[in-house]
Subunit: 77 residues, 2 copies
């Protein structure tokens, strides 16, 4: 993930097609997050509860999950 | 997007690998959204301003964008 936290210089040119793809990607992320939130709420969970359960159930390696692991996976600072 | 708003019954079985992939996907979305937010703020924009600009710049078809279009793309209710 170092590419995401430390962008290289100089930045590459961004085409109009890139903007459209990125815009569409963000729109679809919004739709997905909304969908997931509604489904969680229908199941009686807050979105945060749902994500905590998913992070534990789907933790890489399947081992015991510490509070620190969970905080990182949920990106809780 | 009707698949996302109207899930079919019965639901397919979800494997442990599916949970891990979904958990990873959500983690990477969180990292990406954080990255984007920090970059926007470094450029003097709020995340909402950044997303509004991107939605306009990358609007499909490239035509004039109405307030209603923008609200839909940003999923503002």
């Amino acid at each position: 993930m170092s590419d995401m936290s430390q962008p290289r210089e100089p930045r590459p040119a961004i085409s109009q097609a890139d903007y459209q793809r990125l815009s569409e990607f963000r729109y679809l992320i919004r739709r997905f997050l909304e969908f997931s939130q509604v489904q969680a709420e229908d199941a009686g969970l807050t979105p945060r509860q749902h994500q905590a359960l998913l992070a534990i159930k789907g933790f890489p390696g399947g081992g015991p999950v510490t509070v620190g692991d969970l905080a990182e996976r949920l990106r809780i600072r």
